[in-house]
């Protein structure tokens, strides 16, 4: 077992390094689930409401695609329906970030060499990363099992099943990331690919659930998030489904271990190819585009595809809703105004907008990465002003948002089959809110570079609020904190210029203040 020497100290070291990050993630995952029964109780207070909801979810494929099937009318069952898949998504994201951070990130930065030169076995870093993820996921599982027992009040079995399935999904993506991280040389790419696979698992589940009311579609079974639904927590638990998680973790873990024994430290199975001996890059802007084009292309394609997928389920959104006031209200609170189809489209456009804000934040923070890694320094010591340097990245961030929103709208209209003009218009109306979040990132980066990463937190909170807020009866005053809450509900609603103009002004002001900060402050390095 000498290949595992040093695992113990490495786990303690990893937990020490992540002493802030892991508890925050654990709280996010656990609280998302644990707090939901109370709010759901307020919304679906009578048995009639719940029966109504179950009937809707049985018949409405579009809502099933978005939220998953409702399998039980107990409070716990409603919680699983409403936030179960999201808990699994967060657990997956947490796990893949932990594993990439303690494997490929360490190797890429060269820190791994120092560690591996000590009494540390070849497989110890991977083992330590997976154990760290296991500690986090086990904590999540325990917290959910205990917390849901209290808040849902529907017994311990369902809570335990939900906790184990959530933690299990996390471990599936931990071991998957352990494999992915050995095929890429950059941690950034490893995170991107793993997150893409996580997104694909969510989409597979959505596609499967659109087709069947009880999560029995093969597509659902193909997704670890679908397994969580099939554990049927609070709806006659099927414990054997948990074995799928165990099997997947074991199989993927075995592959990761086999790979790590055959690989040089710092190298990947997809080595980089030689590049040109001379280059055409001639300006800071061209460099920024070269650095970000991969991300822009990736986001563009996924927006086009997600738009098409969301458009495809739109046609079914209004089927058989009938007089169901609860559903109508829910869709309306998601962002719709009048006419269920328009309401649904409007909600989808809003969703695309909130996700596009993540793109802008990522793109803006690329500057932060360039500066702190020392790569901005040689550029800034050329005949390049700070504003010129920053503007290259900013154009990509802010114009890139226009591009991906238009592509998302194009996909949506193509999937839905008509309404191209209004849908594209609705997509463009999202931009001021997207830019406001991007502007906030620029402001944080320019004025307080140490706090730049907080922009992720803000964008994540806005997304969470926009997605879960409508069904969780979050007070309007809180909903109003999101810039997206102020936009006119299009298509369908009336255009309102004042919030659009106002948010644009806010965004421009934030960008201006941030750039002024970049001009005035010391460069990190």
């Amino acid at each position: 077992m000498t290949t595992l020497a040093g695992t113990g100290p490495l786990v303690r070291f990893a937990l020490r390094r992540d002493r802030l990050m892991i508890p925050l993630w654990i709280s996010l995952v656990a609280l998302t689930l644990i707090t939901s029964p109370r709010t759901l109780k307020g919304i679906y207070s009578t048995p009639a409401d719940r029966a109504d909801l179950l009937a809707t979810m049985r018949t409405n494929s579009s809502l099933r695609a978005l939220y998953g099937p409702a399998l039980s009318d107990s409070l716990g069952g409603l919680a699983v329906w409403r936030v179960g898949a999201w808990g699994a998504l967060f657990a997956g994201a947490m796990s893949l970030l932990i594993v990439v951070r303690h494997t490929r990130d360490e190797e890429e930065s060269g820190r791994q060499e120092m560690v591996s030169a000590a009494m540390v076995g070849r497989r110890a870093p991977l083992t330590a990363a997976l154990l760290t993820a296991l500690v986090a996921n086990a904590t999540v599982a325990l917290l959910i099992a205990a917390g849901m027992t209290v808040t849902a009040g529907d017994g311990f079995a369902g809570a335990l099943a939900l906790g184990l399935a959530t933690g299990g999904t996390g471990m599936v993506f931990a071991t998957l990331a352990a494999i992915v991280a050995q095929f890429t040389e950059s941690a950034r790419l490893a995170r991107g690919v793993s997150a893409g696979l996580l997104g694909a698992a969510f989409v597979l589940r959505a596609a499967g659930d659109a087709g069947t009311a009880d999560a029995s579609s093969p597509l659902t079974w193909a997704s670890p998030i679908g397994w969580l639904e099939n554990v049927r927590a609070y709806a006659g638990e099927r414990w054997w489904v948990l074995l799928l998680f165990v099997a997947a973790v074991a199989a993927q873990g075995a592959v990761a271990y086999a790979l790590t024994g055959r690989r040089d430290v710092g190298m990947s199975f997809l080595p980089s190819r030689p590049g040109p001996a001379a280059g055409r890059l001639g300006s800071a802007g061209a460099l920024a585009w070269r650095l970000q084009r991969g991300a822009v292309i990736g986001w563009s394609l996924s927006f086009l595809a997600s738009g098409a997928a969301l458009g495809g389920v739109t046609a079914g959104a209004t089927d058989l809703v009938g007089d169901n006031q609860a559903t109508r209200r829910m869709i309306e609170r998601m962002g719709g105004q009048s006419g269920l189809t328009d309401a649904f489209l409007s909600a989808m456009v809003g969703l695309l907008g909130m996700v596009a804000a993540l793109y802008v934040v990522q793109s803006v923070l690329r500057m932060h990465g360039e500066e702190t890694s020392g790569r901005a320094e040689p550029v800034l010591t050329g005949a390049v002003g700070r504003v010129r340097w920053a503007s290259g990245h900013l154009v990509i961030a802010f114009a890139g948002a226009v591009l991906i929103m238009l592509l998302g709208g194009l996909g949506l209209a193509a999937g839905y089959g008509h309404g191209l003009g209004p849908i594209l218009g609705a997509c463009l109306v999202q931009l001021p809110a997207i830019w406001t979040l991007g502007g906030l990132a620029v402001l944080l980066y320019g004025a307080t570079p140490r706090a730049a990463m907080a922009a992720w937190g803000v964008a994540g909170a806005v997304l969470l609020l926009g997605w879960l807020g409508p069904a969780l009866k979050v007070p309007q005053s809180v909903m109003d904190l999101s810039p997206f809450g102020h936009l006119p509900k299009l298509p369908g609603g009336g255009m309102a210029w004042s919030p659009v103009v106002l948010l644009t002004v806010v965004a421009v002001g934030c960008v201006g203040a941030g750039v002024a900060g970049v001009r005035r402050r010391d460069t990190a390095g």
């Binding site: 590049g275 001996a277 800071a284 800034l380 005949a383 390049v384 005035r520 402050r521």
Partner: protein, 309 residues
């Protein structure tokens, strides 16, 4: 002669730490100026202020006749910089980076670029991550030496990671830059042979202040020479020599005498020795190492002890 760089009374602090505490630096146009000091003395901070990356808290600064902060972009057309730790973009080849750096300054002399790549034995097709530390340095060095219209080279420990052969190549290009191309070079370095070989003048800084500045000959003069002599007659005790001003660490062993003497007091010591009939004499001027140790040590007494070793 005009000055390429003048810095006087430069202060810069980060939070509570005073990185630069009244630093002075004068670099004449066309000279190779050594910039020395222990780790953490403030060399890189000074250089980053000169490059307009950091803003000075106070002090007067001129770089090629301009203000390093407000005229940064214009000045940088005429300045090439090589940091001590070059970080490259993982997905760009070395050749692409060299050309990018060149275009971001005043352009690149393609013939020199080809020659430099050959002399430094650099493979320009490899990508950022796959270069070793020495090779990453070479990428920045090629870009700096091949820059077409540069008046000032600022090199911050540029040869860390280079092998001795490449060190030779580097020195040849620095000499060429100063003598044939008329460029000014500010060279921060810990490699004393390199400084001794290349620099016309040096400035030594410690704790954010300049403690010594001048030509190497000037600096040598300020420190002590070791004298080792064998005399015909045993010296009359220690009295005669020991009483002379500037003599330290005197030891007499029969006919042999060893001592350290302040270099400007050497004359009197030699007179006294020849009076006793000199059979053999070695006199060693202070090495740059001794000079350094003297200035790098925390206080004067241990500095003297280091010189005495």
């Amino acid at each position: 002669m005009t000055k390429a760089i003048t810095v006087s009374g430069l202060h810069k602090s980060f939070g509570g730490t005073h990185a630069l505490d009244g630093l002075d630096l004068d670099v004449e146009t066309g000279e190779v100026h050594g910039f020395l000091g222990p780790n953490g003395a403030g060399k890189s901070t000074t250089i980053r202020v000169l490059l307009g990356l950091l803003r000075a808290d106070s002090g007067a600064l001129r770089l090629l006749g301009g203000d390093p902060w407000s005229d940064a972009v214009e000045l940088h057309r005429k300045v090439a910089y090589v940091p001590g730790d070059v970080t490259l973009w993982r997905n760009l080849s070395g050749g692409e980076v060299i050309d990018l750096y060149g275009r971001l300054r005043g352009g690149l002399d393609t013939q020199r670029r080809a020659e430099l790549i050959e002399r430094f034995e650099l493979d320009p097709t490899k990508k950022g991550r796959t270069y070793s530390k020495g090779n990453r340095q070479k990428v920045a060095l090629v870009a700096a030496f091949a820059a077409a219209d540069v008046d000032l080279l600022i090199l911050d420990e540029p040869t860390s990671g280079l092998d001795p052969l490449m060190e030779e190549v580097f020195q040849a290009y620095v000499r060429e830059a100063a003598r044939e191309r008329g460029q000014t070079v500010l060279l921060s370095s810990h490699i004393l042979s390199e400084v001794e070989e290349l620099c016309d003048r040096v400035s030594i800084i410690r704790k954010g202040r300049t403690v010594e500045s001048g030509s190497l000959a000037d600096l040598r003069h300020l420190t002590r020479t070791s004298v080792n002599a064998e005399l015909a007659d045993a010296p009359d005790g220690l009295g005669g020599l020991g009483g002379l001003p500037g003599v330290h660490a005197l030891s007499v062993d029969g006919h042999r005498v060893r001592l350290q003497v302040d270099t400007d007091k050497l004359d009197a010591v030699l007179r006294s020795l020849t009076a006793s009939g000199v059979r053999s004499l070695t006199s060693t001027p202070p090495t740059l190492e001794e000079l350094f140790l003297r200035h790098y040590q925390e206080d004067g007494s241990s500095g003297a002890a280091a010189v005495a070793r």
